[in-house]
Symmetry: C2
Amino acid sequence: MRRKSLAGAVCPIARSLDVIGDWWSLLIVRDALRGMRRFSEFQKSLGVSKNILTQRLRTLVAQGILELAPATDGSAYREYVLTAKGRDLFHVLVALGQWGQEHLDPPAGSRLTMVDRARGEPLRRLELRARDGRVLGPGDTIMTKIA
Amino acid sequence: MRRKSLAGAVCPIARSLDVIGDWWSLLIVRDALRGMRRFSEFQKSLGVSKNILTQRLRTLVAQGILELAPATDGSAYREYVLTAKGRDLFHVLVALGQWGQEHLDPPAGSRLTMVDRARGEPLRRLELRARDGRVLGPGDTIMTKIA
DNA sequence: GATGACAGGTTTCATGATGGAACCAGTTGG
DNA sequence: CCAACTGGTTCCATCATGAAACCTGTCATC
């Protein structure tokens, strides 16, 4: 049977994973955040086959994460650009990046890290704070139903 | 051909997705953070078939995200508990949850949100800050090679 | 200490998703 | 006008997913 759709889940995490929880989507968004816009750029960067890329780009557009825009270089081609909804995935990618950097060994000789572009300095770790400013950890939150 | 392994990728985001970028793993971690420990609890909560759940739990254990511990109720069964590495996925889940809550419509009548357990108050949005305290957005960071 | 139910799987099989390669139409550069 | 490039589509083999049946060890009860 087809994998179950989580689109109608009550849990917002499950709904998110339904949309961007597949193998390629977040990597496409990552590249888009780095400024990539063209089909061929994504294909080259990801090494994914073209039929799959076509399919993923189409769903991302359908979900309002990317949109098609006329090419910036004046050619007749079109480019994929992030919408506000797509750019809001930034924190998801940062969280994934910080976790990977901390817990997964990089290949020998090339360690990448995200830095503050303006100053070239390393970033702080993401922190979740309560309204009163306390930093919250895994045990300090709970899901509740709201009106 | 099998989906390409990203385990040796230079990008920490890609390495993370290689480990927890599949359909179920993060949902299992979400449930584990909520306190679930038993095979049957996960199966009931996720509605996944048992062979798939077996497989996912095994990889999560192999990756050091979960570990097997003797049951807390004194029975001979074993339970799956998060390691520190697994608990560190908290921010990834928070980021996914905040994005889903903001951009994906919940099913009618049941909106869930994450709150500060101690006070029942809503949380602040995750913020990424530079070392000097500036809040950084998608355009303000860049990946660099470090020694 | 037999017995039936439950926990936690494994096996089998059908079906859907993935990926490589070949092919193709519209665009561009020369 | 022709060749190469962009951005796909189609076809096919293979892999992963999922449902259901089965199986083994544990627990609760009598």
